[in-house]
Amino acid sequence: MAEEFEPKIMAFICKWCTSAGADLAGVSRLEYPSNVIPIQVMCSGSVSPLYVFSALSQGADGVLVSGCHPGDCHYMKGNYYARRRLALVKKLLEYIGLEPERFQMSWVSATEGVKFTQIIKDLVKELQPLGPQTKLRRN
């Protein structure tokens, strides 16, 4: 039996909300796929488009940027900037022909451990049929 493809997902998660949410998922012993490589950033607003491109070019099959819900940002408005900037990144990546599932964003608060596990599960399920990301990967 052929092994199922296991996508590698880079997750840029904000220190104040999603990271705490992921911790909550951990301490609550909720299970989720181990495909995700979380990178803690201070704010989703600090995620430069370069991070996303760089992750894809270094072989990530999917990229997730996750931050606080609008209005809950620790720095008041960082996630609003992220939303605007990354919307453009998403449009650009789709425009040059990358599958839209490969770059995703989510809002996960510190209490939403269940939501975090669900997002990772969904992401893995969506990325599995696409296979490895070779379009932007560096040779």
Binding site: P49, L50, F53, S54, S57, P70, K77, Y80, Y81, R83, R84, R85, A87, L88, V89, K90, K91, L92, L93, E94, Y95, I96, G97, L98, E99, Q104, M105, S106, W107, I119, D122, K135, L136, R137, R138, N139
Partner: protein, 343 residues
């Protein structure tokens, strides 16, 4: 109609009165129809100035050189620099003002209205007139362009030879200027994003195949970056050799410079470079078309820039360069920005 005599007269007056340091305009560029940038310092030299459909350059790019020169000099001449601006160039000035790269008093702008015409596209005019060679272009009456070729003079409908960007221009008259020459006639602009419409309609795989083929041709000569009036950073993230290194730079500082993109022209590196370039121009590109014009391998870079311009308008209602007092696109937000793509 913009009168060249009036233009020369105004520039001469400015130079004689010492109001400006020097003037950047256009002059005849040798045997072809394409004008070239002219730097006028003496009042007598104003006779070199021209205004024709061959004046394609965006002269605001030279403000970067001026800014660097000022930073270098001990006692810089702080008088403003005179400049011809078309509609598109004036939007570039607005963006530079928005970003506080220049101050309004640093420049003295002579705006020229393109009226119902614009500038000529090299490929289009060559194809249209083949086998005749265009030698000189002039604005004609009633939306035509008069072309002097080696086989006599021709009159061509403007819509046949104007650059695509001129046909889609959102503001064909200068939005910011000290003196405006020519009439302010609004060109009807029924399909502002026509050039990308057919491309957007393609499937994901077709789009990928197209870009992969295009980007694999890129030589990474960085001409698109050099000519862009918006690419003014001293250090470019996409190019590791322009990191500012002085005698005082410590090894630690050097080690901390992140090399995001390799310089070798491999397809994947090229894509990275062009993605970075495109996203850095989101909400800043004024569609002056210079990157596409100077590209030695003819990459369709406008296609990328125009897409982000369109998305900025569709998602955030933002139009580039119309107002120097509003914040730049990604330095502001609205509470109701679309977030349907976020889980």
């Amino acid at each position: 109609m913009v009168s060249e005599d009036k233009l020369r007269e105004e520039v001469k007056k400015l130079l004689q009165e010492g109001k400006i340091k020097y003037f950047i305009g256009y002059e005849n560029g040798g045997p072809g129809w394409l004008a070239r940038p002219a730097f006028i310092q003496q009042p007598e030299a104003v006779s070199r100035l021209i205004w024709s459909p061959g004046c394609v350059h965006n002269l605001t790019r030279f403000l970067q050189d001026e800014k660097r020169r000022r930073a270098r000099e001990k006692n810089p001449d702080l008088r403003p620099v005179g400049l011809i601006v078309k509609g598109c160039d004036s939007r570039a000035i607005n963006v530079l003002l928005q970003e506080k790269y220049i101050e309004r008093k640093d420049v003295y702008l002579i705006g020229v209205s393109c009226e119902l015409l614009g500038v000529v596209d090299e490929a289009k005019i060559t194809r249209r007139l083949y086998p005749a060679k265009p030698l000189q272009v002039r604005f004609g009456a009633k939306e035509t362009i008069l072309v002097l070729t080696d086989q006599g003079e021709r009159e061509i409908a403007a819509s046949e030879v104007l650059a695509d960007r001129c046909l889609e221009c959102p503001a064909n008259f200068p939005l910011v200027a000290d003196i405006v020459l020519g009439e302010k006639i609004n060109r009807p602009n029924p399909q502002p994003y026509q050039s990308i419409a057919s491309f957007e309609a393609k499937s994901l795989e077709e789009r990928w195949a197209f870009w992969q083929e295009q980007f694999s041709r890129c030589l990474r000569c960085y001409a698109c970056r050099s000519v862009c009036p918006m690419c003014y950073c001293d250090e470019c993230v996409a190019d590791s050799i322009v990191y500012a290194v002085s005698a005082d730079t410590t090894a630690e500082e050097k080690a901390q410079k992140v090399k995001w993109v390799e310089r070798n022209p491999e397809p994947q590196e090229n894509i990275f470079y062009h993605l970075v370039r495109a996203i850095h121009l989101a909400g800043r590109c004024v569609d002056c078309g210079e990157c596409e014009r100077v590209c030695p391998v003819g990459l369709p870079l406008r296609l990328l820039n125009k897409k982000l311009e369109k998305e900025a308008k569709a998602l955030f209602g933002y139009e580039v360069g119309l107002d120097a007092n509003s914040p730049p696109l990604i330095s502001c937000f609205r509470d109701n920005d679309p977030q349907d793509f976020i889980r």
